[in-house]
Amino acid sequence: MTATAGPRPAPPPRARWPRPSRSATISIASVAVFFLLWQIAPELGLVNGRFTSQPTLVLKAALEVAVADDFLRHARVSLTAFAVGYGLAMLVSIPLGIVLGTSRIARHMLEPPLMALYIAPTLILLPVMIVWLGIGIASKIAVAFLGAVFPIIVNTMAGMREADHKLVRMARSFGASRFDVFTRILVPGALPSIVVGLRLAIGRAVLGVIVGELYVSQAGLGFQLTTYGAAMRIDRLLVYAIAVSIFGYTMTALVRAIEARLQRWRPE
């Protein structure tokens, strides 16, 4: 770099119509080819259209689902289970992770079972939850909660443990109390890791709700997935599958945006 006055060079002038980058072009082309193949393969007799459906049919099904089919009611059922499970997980796991990250005794006591539960797919607990809580919304909330809680605990814990001891010493030199050190040094330092945990937890909670509904339920997006699966309505089944993935993607993107804001002070 040549000599500039400050570390912030002026942004380069932007073209009115930005040319799509090479990678974007390739991505768009590959998606287009995929849809094209999907559309023509059944018509050419390459695959059985009953099993694969077609993009145009899925689009038509989407319109049907949107106007009739109680889409909003099912979405609300799933969303409620997700929101309650995920919210409870946040309330429990962030404080717990913070305590475990600061207290060595608590960590020695709870780390092995926590790691085991973090690694194991928490869905294996679904049958137990159904026995305990019945086939209503409570067991889906429980599974969403269990899916979300461990990634947040583990990442919060890691964030607290990676605290910079030099910063703690600096704070103490200015007379910081233990509480000051905790609120001004440890927690802000752990925040980026906590948000990583929150992001990983979204996918797990969505999975918990949907699989819970696939298994046993009377309503919800997962319930609709099994219903249309059983009825061989691949077009509608795909509409619901896409709705679920759009939801997960949007939530994750949202948390990523928060993450990016927090990480501004930490380049790379």
């Binding site: 704070a171 103490r172 001004r184």
Partner: protein, 265 residues
């Protein structure tokens, strides 16, 4: 009575891995007058940083006493501020936020904090960088923030632990110059640890030379170079004399270190 009184100080601690008791500092007695600039120089492992951090109240004392204005040191206090070797800035706070940190800890009022922080940011020449974050600054700029943060809380004693140790030679000289200018204006008592002989002489009213195994004071040397000082004194005969004397001390330590290492090999 002197402002800093260190009497027969002993500092020992358990090394975490082997569990052995290690004596870092032994039999250190030192008084520093108010407004005096004292540098501590010695080879690595001579306990010079440990001594400084003990005065800061960050390292527990095992024997002897440290007192500031007659009050025994047991913990950090608002009468002292430390400039650390690594800038130790909070990466999520701006320059202004970092300089305000000490003021927040010592419960200055909100209005005072910003005003005072800005005053010292200007003093170290970073007025245009108050909103920058540490990762956007050079090493020298970060150390300026480190110094501004310490000065802002208005301590009587400024404790500096090799603050320019990680900087390149040129930046180091400039920073030393600026530090003296600020110190002459602010009239703080200064204790400054370094391993750089020239830096130790250039800044000091007195240089404390420390030796190893265990850390102890070998000599306290008065520097009679009139202030304000400029870089040309580095070439004077007087300065050369001081330099030779300190080098002889450090060479002695280096020799004993090689003997020990040779014996182990």
């Amino acid at each position: 009575m002197a402002q800093i009184e260190v009497r027969d100080l002993q500092i020992t601690y358990d090394t975490p891995k082997t569990g052995e008791r290690f004596t870092a500092v032994e039999g250190v007695t030192l008084s520093v007058e108010a407004g005096e600039f004292v540098t501590i120089v010695g080879a690595s492992g001579c306990g010079k940083s440990t001594l400084l951090l003990a005065v800061a109240g960050l390292v527990p004392v095992s024997g002897g006493t440290i007192a500031i204005d007659g009050r025994t040191v047991t913990a950090p206090g608002p009468d002292r501020a430390v400039v650390f070797q690594e800038a130790s800035l909070l990466p999520w706070r701006s320059v202004l936020g970092n300089v305000k940190f000490g003021l927040e800890m010592q419960r200055w009022t909100r209005d005072d904090r910003t005003e005072r922080a800005m005053r010292f940011i200007r003093m170290v020449g970073l007025a245009n960088f108050a909103d920058y974050h540490p990762h956007q600054l050079s090493g020298g700029m970060r150390q300026r923030v480190n110094i501004a943060r310490a000065l802002a809380v208005d301590p009587k004693v400024l404790l500096m632990d090799e603050p320019f140790g990680a900087l390149d030679a040129q930046t180091r000289e400039v920073m030393g110059d600026e530090l003296l200018t600020i110190w002459e204006r602010e009239k703080k008592t200064a204790l400054f640890v370094t391993h750089d002989i020239d830096e130790a002489i250039f800044l000091a009213d007195r240089v404390v030379v420390m030796g190893r195994n265990p850390g102890h004071i070998k000599e306290i040397m008065r520097v009679d170079i009139p202030r304000p000082r400029h870089e040309d004194v580095l070439d004077s005969d007087l300065f050369n004399g001081y330099r030779k004397r300190l080098r002889a001390h450090l060479a002695e330590d280096m020799a004993s270190m090689h003997l020990v290492e040779g014996a182990q090999a």
